[in-house]
Subunit: 569 residues, 2 copies
């Protein structure tokens, strides 16, 4: 391709709208442009990268036995009413009406459509397993679209749905996809981790996220350096360290705590360690008050709490509303005498001996609080946010934490959708059974952005070779020098004949601009054609990642390049 014929509008300045590096660089290097909040045009260079990722995804899906199809983006409301998601999906669903007033949505995901298809077309165990996938635009009306392609409202995804006759089949499909995802992100040249993920309140009993590690990522994960354990913090299991253990149990007592409003005030006043305190928060779960009790130094994991309650919305009410609940005193809330509100007690908090907690009276606290002697709980469970330093649930060594970008998720759905949509089949004995489903997504445009977050320097992007828009940029130093341009042309034709994907920078621009743009655009190799080429018959090959420049004779160029192109880094 000749750069003079391509629309690659590079920018020297960082656009004000872009907070994170991938957003900045993809705009600056001319890969995309914003059309509306969370809605982008992929320019020719951007589309090339997307096509590279798409092709890798497609190959691995095919290899794993997936069949590609193409489902509609506009989906009739009736299917979503059947699955029960039309009303619960909320504001993230883009909804529209046709000229006859019939309701549709723009697919954020395709469980309804695909389950309905399979329900109609598949009826025998002989037709299972079935792995169906597509690669297309998805829509989510995000409250706060941001970070460019990272959290868009229109974005490209691959979604595969597996249909099996039993759990064992699902496990096999799940493993196939897990492996395919590992292959995909490895082939894309990304540093990633598969982590256990929350699988939500409904259905799903197992899920993994594939997270590309990057400081700018919105996902927080914990992992163990001693064993294999890795999980999203939303999901990571809290472990009770047993030897905090049981000390002599003392009688409950109520004490005055003048001026104490917060946990920090409390440990200061009482001269106790924070691990002895219990923190009680009152939430509204779908408008009903619930209390959750965790250790004073812990954050509540709202996902775990939501899953346990089985509610859709969880919010912290204002102080006025709290006080009106009766029995609750802000600044001194505690589980004792909280009679009318269900109490979700974290098991770590439950294990505290002789704890300290609010007495639901102004400036009063209980000391020597012990469960279950002194208070009741509706449920005792795991409601905390795990953090670095907490023990690994598998080997008890301290966990590490990191941030990353979720680029893929594999998810066991089970029979939730086949039940609600009636997708059944006849098994070997002629009995009607529900299909056992899984769903598996990859954010294609997000993967492009994640690759940039992991591969850049102060001069621009450094693409892994497998997803670079071009492998090699050929730059004649002086566009005024006819001989240089001719040499560059000849090299361009030679590399094309050898099927090396190359871009000829034939623009009438200064050398500095061409070099800067090549660095910004992140082609793995750059070939400089200058005076030396005329005088000595050599060119310089620069490796974008290492910065190393090698001088090679023109006759050796193809062989050298082919050697260099073998690695993905």
């Amino acid at each position: 391709m000749r750069l003079s014929k391509m629309l690659v509008p590079t920018l020297r300045d960082v656009p004000a709208e872009a907070e994170i590096i991938s957003h900045q660089l993809l705009l600056r290097a001319g890969y995309m442009r914003k059309v509306a909040a969370g809605v982008y045009t992929l320019l020719p260079m951007g589309l090339r990268v997307v096509e590279k990722i798409t092709q890798i995804v497609r190959e691995e899906m095919n290899k794993a036995g997936g069949q590609e199809l193409y489902l509609p983006i506009i989906q009739p409301a009736e299917l979503w009413l059947k699955s029960g998601r039309w009303h619960v999906y909320g504001d993230e669903l883009f909804r529209l009406k046709d000229r006859h007033g019939r309701e549709f949505c723009l697919g954020p995901t395709h469980e309804e459509i695909i389950t309905d298809l399979v329900k109609k077309e598949v009826n025998s165990y002989k037709q299972l397993p079935l792995l169906l996938f597509q690669i297309q635009n998805k829509y989510r009306d995000e409250r706060r679209p941001r970070f460019g392609l990272m959290r868009g409202r229109e974005f490209i995804m691959k979604d595969l749905y597996s249909f099996d006759k039993d759990e064992e089949g699902l496990e096999k499909s799940y493993q196939k996809m897990y492996q395919a995802y590992t292959n995909i992100f490895s082939r894309c040249g990304l540093g990633f981790r598969a982590v256990e993920a929350d699988s939500g309140a409904i259905g799903g009993n197992r899920s993994h996220e594939f997270v590309v590690l990057a400081g700018s990522g919105e996902a927080e994960i914990v992992y163990c350096e001693s064993c294999d354990y890795a999980a999203n913090v939303e999901r990571a299991e809290g472990v009770i360290v047993e030897d905090l253990g049981r000390e002599q149990v003392l009688p409950l007592d109520k004490v005055a705590t003048p001026g104490v409003k917060t946990i920090l005030d409390l440990i200061e006043f009482m001269q106790i360690s924070i691990e002895k305190t219990l923190k009680t928060l009152v939430y509204l779960a779908d408008s009903e008050p619930v209390a959750v009790v965790v250790r004073g130094d812990r954050d509540v994991n709202e996902i775990k709490l939501k899953n346990e309650i089985g509610c859709l919305e969880l919010e912290l009410p204002g102080e006025d509303l709290l006080e009106s609940l009766g029995g609750v005193h802000v600044g001194s809330i505690g589980p004792v005498s909280l009679e009318n509100i269900p109490i979700y007690l974290d098991r770590e908090a439950a294990s505290i001996a002789n704890g300290v907690t609010g007495a639901n009276e102004p400036e009063m606290h209980y000391i020597n609080l012990n469960y279950p002697r002194d208070y009741k709980a509706t449920v005792v469970g795991d409601f905390i946010q795990v953090r670095a330093g907490d023990p690994c649930p598998l080997c008890q060594r301290p966990l590490s934490s990191a941030r990353g970008i979720e680029v893929g998720q594999v998810f066991k759905l089970g029979t939730v959708y086949s039940k609600s949509m009636g997708a059944t089949f006849l098994d070997e004995k002629g009995d009607t059974c529900e299909m056992v489903m899984g769903c598996y997504g990859i954010g294609v445009t997000r993967t492009m952005a994640a690759a940039v977050e992991q591969n850049y320097d102060e001069n621009g992007i450094i693409w892994p070779r497998s997803i670079a828009p071009f492998q090699v940029a050929i730059i004649p130093v002086s566009s005024k020098d006819e001989q240089q341009c001719k040499n560059a042309e000849r090299i361009y034709e030679r590399l094309q004949a050898e099927r090396i994907e190359c871009l000829l920078d034939d623009r009438d621009e200064r050398a500095g601009v061409k070099f800067m743009d090549a660095d910004l655009n992140g082609y793995p190799f750059r070939i400089t054609v200058g005076k030396k080429t005329i005088q000595k018959g050599t060119v310089d090959i620069k490796n974008r990642r290492s910065g190393l420049e090698t001088t090679v004779k023109i006759e050796d160029l193809v062989g050298e390049l082919q050697k260099m192109l073998k690695n993905n880094y």
Copy 2:
């Protein structure tokens, strides 16, 4: 690919919903399924055909200098307000609001988005010409979606937009696209004609449609067998046959015509030829009455009329409304004394000597009517629908007519959008000029349907080879016979190694079912592996189109097939 692993649900019966053959066969052969009116899922077989067509389109667009990019499907209303189309596009535009109440539409076409992009990123004549294209879903909320993929509400299109610095450049881009379209439909193996097409009231001064000839098509074209002329009837030019000519002009007279209500009544009553009569129709053009006068045997071409008036809507009012206009009498309308209504007079009608027309009075007509002696016209122009037998505008020989399916259109937009959206550039002299645009569309899914309309028999589809989902189906006659199955497997592997695209029908089905499905699905060749294969080492190759069956030795199979696959038919 193994058919046992593919979702290809064939149907024996013709689905009630399908009126035309492509709709019936694409459903029956398991290429697609309906999700809602005009909204379809492409099953794996259907997607394969779409991918073949897409690839041909992409290659020809690239060859013609096009650059592929990917524009958003959801488009902000503000761009459509700028171009002026938000309010005029009407009910065909799917509209939606985001969570903040901001308005969007689902792109039926992308002039607004692309012009806005080019306006922002291109500012010099050096960057022109620019040919940008994409292949993606388009949306049109059709009043009556029907005929399957032929007139859908969600469909796949290629759209290219050209930006040139002047009319001469546009003409070059237009010619490039015209040639590329000719290549594309030829490579797809389709019988088609490029015909002159209406280019609408706004902008466009030249347009061609590419029409695949098929009796079921909604497009009506006329063409000349003596010269090159071909046009959509919407566009085809009416020609006055001069020698109908001038006879002795007689004085105007009003006569009683008791019982005469229609043109046929009139010629019966008067004993004249229909070519002597004038027919006057009153329309509401954007709610304002207008009259159009054509010869009694002619149909009004509403497109031509609309273009001349420059209105958006044209409708025939009810009789009550007509009578209330004053001066109009239904059954006897005529141009004389129609004072308050603008009259659009067809030039053929204007040339009638001593014509007969209604007198706007009950049961009264004028005879010996001559223009301009006896009545006035606001505009004299070409307002008739041309038909077979009419003279060719180029060579005057009689035109032929045919029906077809419009699969592509090339269109000179000129500066309509660059004006309204402000897409300008600096020319060689530093002057600010508007870009001169063209747009060029191909209906990809519609092309698939059109290919079926042209290529089928009573047993099913007969794909042109270039767009067939598979080139060859391999069928072991008995799926119980281990040796036959093994032979079929071996041939399958052999053909795959030779990169011949083949499908192995390894389903546990009767031979008859497998043969029927292969015919229905339309693979160009079918290889039968049976007893002869074991006994004599031969297989039968059947050509789906010709029906000819050839017996070849297994060792000659690859060579023979490669020979056969060379032609597209």
